[in-house]
Symmetry: C2
Subunit: 332 residues, 2 copies
DNA sequence: CTGAAAGCGCTTACAG
DNA sequence: CTGAAAGCGCTTACAG
């Protein structure tokens, strides 16, 4: 490998000058010329590891997601990449798979100084981690975060999930539904659930405990299974709210497999608005959350706290969800 | 930050001994004891950047995909992560978005010594890159690679895509279809196309040039659009082969939007077998490719060439595709 | 098995 | 603006 010293020798200047030229610092024109020529002739390319050690900064961040199986996180990852790219950063992707040990390991990796900061999504163990996290002094931004209270002295960029649940309920109520089932991921989707229940309560309707079903993984399969259970056990239910679109897709298929027409016999609404939801049959009504804006905002906040750690106070940024009516919901 | 020197001082030994203990090298038991105690008391954690510089190895690889929008690559990424995790590696994810400049940048990043190797998927510019790539001396493994010839002195782990196209055709032929349209990504899906055409030719059937439609991005939208075009212009067509499942899903919806029943009026077959394809309506018949095995094999090959660069010859590993019959294809 | 030194390839003060 | 030095925090030979 050709090093900076090689370039300096060839150009007849000191390493320092080479470093200055490469860093774009003011340099005498002839020095600049000599260095650039030598760089080209030698095909020199800086060693980023050495630079990182000297600078104490790697320009690498860690993006932690529960799983890429949910397209929601793939969309986030894509947007995060585009944003950090503009600022000369790259990311290491890691999945927790809702595994406590993995969660913790990834968190510990911050102490190894190989990354400058971390973007961390809520998963099953986030509330535990949150406590530990907020005590340390690393650049961390929490995103798509739902458990309350938000950890002190950490920035979070999230959605008003309570409002999201509320919107889903309001839509169903307007359509005249009174008997509604809910399938939610536990313990991570508490806010979505509570927003939903709040709206019903405000309309004077208490939802039967038995119509609330929790799952551990928010997958298509869980949605299918619980959807089937609810519909079998409680024929009076006319609508189901699934707290993410993957589960809602499962419910959709379960209902139709049981011979129930959607939305004539049963309405189904999701939350996420992943790309695929426009293509289910019928297309899924959902509560959309601004994934791109969320990803972008989280990145900006993180980079700010990496680059100006001193004057960055932790802030909580909440984005608005919105109802997207498609064809899986209808009047009772 | 606490460094190795701090630990050494506290333990009353030399840095060297600390390094040895951490590396698991043979050490006198009492030294071991002292070091471990000091590490714990100080909460020492090694600086990975310094280690990387000293060792000349970062334990980081780069995973390059065209886009995460296609769940195919998300599935690959998930599997790659699980595999490298076993070996103590992590990956930097980057997308090329079929952009020549980005492609090239990522490739150049190898020279910066921040990653030990690269896993590179075929994209629109891969054939260009392949030439450059094979001249350099970095650990690179090509995966999901389709353009021929495979670059010399580079390992590739891929699928027999010609066979995949052939299988799709054979299935349609067996069902009695003679008038078939094809929607393929150009220039990346040439082998799938040619395998398909081969099977028809062997049956004495030449497919009309006009029934072959190329797209630039293999997306759902492209599939929808071209599907609509073909079906509008050529009512005699009884089956369509889309060279990936995302496009096939688009064709499926286009056909049904035009009032054609699947598979009664028109059969549709994809290639990929992404998770979602089991949940389209009707569920999509597809040619599955062993994504997990491919990802795993590619990782193993890459790590081998990183860790034992000397005695690793480039090999070409081709995995078998398989027909998965669901409900989007039927007899004519 | 241990100790003192050199080195990985940069950047960051600090005199001139 | 330039030059010689020290330093980032590890690991790798190399004598003892």
């Amino acid at each position: 490998m050709v090093t900076m010293a090689d370039v300096a020798r060839k150009a007849g200047v000191t390493k320092q000058s080479v470093s200055n030229v490469l860093a774009g610092k003011p340099v005498r024109p002839e020095t600049w010329e000599k260095v650039i020529t030598a760089v080209k002739e030698l095909g020199y390319t800086p060693n980023l590891v050495a630079r990182a050690l000297a600078r104490g900064k790697t320009n690498l961040i860690s993006l932690v997601v529960p799983t890429l199986k949910n397209p929601f996180y793939a969309e986030i990852a894509e947007e995060v990449e585009q944003t950090i790219d503009e600022f000369g950063y790259q990311f290491i992707l890691s999945t927790t798979r809702n595994d406590l040990k993995r969660s913790r390991q990834q968190f510990e990796s911050l102490t190894h100084r190989a990354i400058d900061g971390m973007l961390l999504a809520e998963d099953h163990y986030s509330s535990y981690d949150a406590k530990t996290l907020s005590q340390r002094d690393f650049p961390i931004v929490l995103y798509s975060w739902e458990s309350l209270p938000y950890p002190d002295n950490l920035s979070v960029v999230s959605i008003d999930f309570r409002q999201a649940g509320f919107l889903a309920a309001s839509h169903l109520l307007e359509l005249g539904h009174r008997n509604c089932g809910v399938i939610y991921e536990n313990p991570t989707h508490q806010l979505r659930l509570s927003g939903f229940l709040d709206a019903f309560r405000m309309s004077g309707i208490i939802i039967d405990e038995q119509w609330l079903r929790s799952t551990a993984d928010a997958s298509y399969e869980s949605g299918y299974l619980q959807g089937k259970n609810i519909l079998r056990d409680f024929p009076q239910i006319s609508a189901i709210f699934a707290t993410n679109d993957l589960m809602a897709a499962g419910v959709l298929d379960a209902a139709q497999a049981m011979g129930r027409n959607v939305p004539e016999d049963i309405s189904i609404i999701g939350l996420d608005d992943i790309t695929q939801s426009a293509h289910t049959r019928p297309p899924l009504t959902s509560i959309s959350i601004p994934k791109k804006a969320m990803a972008r905002e989280a990145v900006l906040l993180l980079l700010r706290s990496i680059e100006y750690s001193a004057n960055s106070l932790p802030v909580i940024t909440l984005l608005h969800p919105a109802l997207v009516v498609r064809h899986s919901t209808g009047p009772i």
